[in-house]
């Protein structure tokens, strides 16, 4: 399996082959002699050149994080062999971008209605959780294509609230 992993705007190409019960790993074409064991659910013990790493994985809202020791990395993983996934990805970066709820809450105000031109970083909606309000901003300069929620609606983490094109 080949994966493209994006971490802090840098792309890593990771090729994994299962040989028996061990993974063979190429990182950007260079072999890494990793020794991997899955311990607790969602926790991975990795040995590399004698160094021991305990690695956790978590999803928070729309983010996926990899935690190595006490360092946290937001990662995005793509399987380049998946034609659909690559295609969609290409389309979305140029075309429509979604605004998703970063946590569960209530929509208290829509600041920019459908058709409103917005600039990158301009506030589009306000959601409230635990007595605090948070403005959700346009991920790109463009026009509000769609508002998927009404003021007063309760929303879940990761739910799409609006689209900007």
């Amino acid at each position: 399996m080949i994966y493209e992993v994006t971490l802090a705007e840098k792309i890593y190409r990771v090729e994994l082959t299962l040989a028996g019960d061990r993974w063979k790993c190429l990182l950007n074409g260079r072999e890494l002699p990793v020794d991997v064991v899955y311990g607790q659910n969602g926790v991975l013990s990795l040995l590399l050149g004698g160094k021991s790493y305990e690695i956790k994985q978590e999803s928070v809202g729309t983010e996926t994080n990899i935690v190595v020791g006490h360092e946290r990395f937001t990662a995005s993983v793509r399987d380049p062999r998946s034609f659909r996934s690559r295609n969609r990805a290409g389309a979305s970066e140029q075309g429509v971008m979604k605004i998703k709820a970063p946590m569960p809450g209530k929509v208290v105000r829509v600041l920019a209605g459908v058709g409103t031109p917005v600039e990158l970083g301009q506030s589009v909606l306000v959601i409230e959780a635990m007595k605090m309000q948070n403005e959700l901003k346009a991920p790109k300069t463009g026009k509000v294509k769609k508002i998927s929620v009404a003021e007063g609606a309760a929303v879940d983490a990761g739910q799409t609230l609006a689209e900007v094109e």
Partner: protein, 507 residues
């Protein structure tokens, strides 16, 4: 001793009080709101009763309903924890009228300390050191005379003030008149009360507080101090005991003042006298909290006492089982308050499901928690999840131990302020105890510096991300290219889907 105690609270403090009850052979009664049926405090208790809907005024602040439950189940006493009804004197009176013991000070002491001006007056009478200034309204001329006497900078304050309104910092005599007038007109507009007084401005103070404990027979002792200078918006973030700047002699003086304050208020049970301390180690009365504090564990660790056990014993009429001279401090304790909030996004709350929980333990580590793996942190209350406390023979070892415990602590699925603590504990000013109430704001304003270690770990993280994806894909029975139609809604596939999702969410 009581046979049954109702805990009118939720979260970690409810669990902490229930543990004390269990240890003392007292049956504990939980109360809960609709959204808290699955909360840890409900399953920890011996009995549990529904209060009402999620909003606090219909549940945890619902005095009538709480007293009804207490009467129905036969609870002889109510422990209010902190927050909610803990400093509500009317609630304490209602308990007394209903024949239920309120575990805390007498209502009269709560009322006295609950009013800032009454407290200030009473403390002045008791000879407690206050920030120099006046507690009564002044004319401009009086204000100028007093400012000249106590020295600049001074703070002009509206007697009825609050939330920063009607407050002005004045650095030099020339600015006093105009600031006074602005503050006065603002106060008139805001509070319909133009009374203005003046206090010396304490620059970069430390927040140091004294734990006091009194029984109902007139005995009051102090249990040393806690340093709580690491604050964000007047919210304590890290507390420790003892304070690095308090020596035996200063502790004795502060302790004597705190005991004097408590005695003059007719105080009983656990309470805390808060002080501001200036750069010359002068201390000034700030306020008294008439309840158990969030940060009581650091005092427990350095004194070897259990404050909740003692609260229960005092409330049941026992005398203090020790005298002042029996109280000895040993070692150093630090507490971190773990919140479901995102320090990288203006500390916005992050409720949601705790998908994974790895808890620290081992030597010198205490975790007082109100959560469990699989629990969903509700939107409706304070987002504190737990308190992590490290104890060691000295301050630097306690800091090192806390770092070790933070490395072991993992809360997956929601944002927490765990990463912030590492930044604080590695900051040279914190390590060297050069802290004041502005320390954390300065640290946050400076922004995070990406550590060198992080860069070296990026390759490991990248490989691991691929390994997680590959394993998830094997588990889903997929081999190589994904078939979007065939995905099951398991955690693993959800993760994959998220990782591959194209659109970037807002903010």
């Amino acid at each position: 001793m009581f046979k049954k105690v109702l805990i009118a609270n939720r979260g970690e403090i409810a669990v902490r009080v229930m543990r004390a009850c269990r240890e003392m052979g007292i049956a504990s009664v939980a109360v809960y709101s609709d959204v808290d049926r699955g909360s840890l405090h409900v399953s920890t208790a011996d009995e549990a009763y529904l209060l009402g809907p999620a909003p606090a005024r219909e549940s945890y602040l619902n005095v009538g309903r709480i007293l009804e439950v207490a009467e129905k189940c036969g609870a002889e006493a109510i422990h209010p924890g902190y927050g909610f009804l803990s400093e509500n004197a009317r609630f304490a009176r209602s308990c007394a009228e209903a024949g239920t013991k309120f575990i805390g000070p007498p209502p009269s002491a709560m009322e006295l300390m609950g009013s800032k001006t009454r407290a200030r007056t009473a403390m002045q009478v008791a000879g407690v050191p206050m920030v120099p200034g006046s507690a009564r309204g002044l004319s401009i001329a009086e204000a100028e005379a007093m400012a000249a006497q106590i020295g600049y900078p001074v703070m002009i304050k509206a007697a009825a003030g609050g939330g920063g309104k009607g407050m002005r910092l004045v650095s030099r005599p020339a600015d006093l008149k105009s600031s006074f007038e602005t503050a006065q007109s603002e106060a008139l507009r805001s509070f319909n009360d133009g009374e203005i007084y003046l206090e010396k401005f304490i620059e970069n103070p430390r927040h140091i507080e004294i734990q006091v404990l009194g029984d109902e027979h007139g005995n009051v002792v102090y249990l040393g101090e806690r340093e709580c200078s690491v604050q964000r918006r007047h919210q304590k973030v890290i507390e420790e005991a003892p304070s690095a700047i308090v020596d035996e002699e200063m502790r004795r003086r502060m302790g004597a003042v705190a005991v004097q304050a408590a005695k003059s208020a007719g105080y009983a049970n656990a309470g805390t006298v808060e002080f501001l301390v200036d750069g010359k180690r002068n201390f000034y009365f700030l306020e008294m909290n008439t309840r158990l504090q969030v940060e009581h564990p650091v005092t427990e660790l350095v004194t070897g006492l259990d404050l909740v056990h003692l609260q229960l014993r005092i409330a049941s009429g026992e005398k203090l089982p020790f005298r002042q001279e029996d109280v000895q401090l040993r070692g150093h304790a630090i507490e971190c308050r773990i919140y479901a909030e995102d320090p990288d996004n203006n500390f916005f709350p992050s409720p949601g499901k705790i998908a994974k929980l790895l808890r620290p333990s081992g030597p010198g580590v205490r975790e007082d928690s109100g959560v469990y793996e699989g629990w969903t942190v509700p939107l409706d209350y304070d987002p504190m999840l737990s308190k992590l406390i490290a104890y060691a023979p000295d301050r630097l070892t306690a800091i090192a131990r806390m770092r070790r415990a933070l490395d072991e602590y993992f809360i997956g699925g929601i944002k927490t302020n765990l990463p912030l603590f590492r930044r604080i504990l590695e900051h040279p000013d914190f390590v060297n105890a050069r802290i004041d109430t502005g320390f954390l704001d300065r640290l946050l304003a400076a922004g995070a510096t990406s550590s060198g270690a992080k860069n070296g770990m990026a390759e490991i993280a990248a490989v691991s991300a691929a390994l997680f994806a590959a394993t998830a894909s094997l588990k889903n029975g997929q081999n190589g290219a994904s078939k979007p139609g065939a995905e099951k809604r398991s955690d693993a596939s959800l993760w994959k889907r998220t990782a591959r999702s194209e659109g970037v969410g807002g903010e």
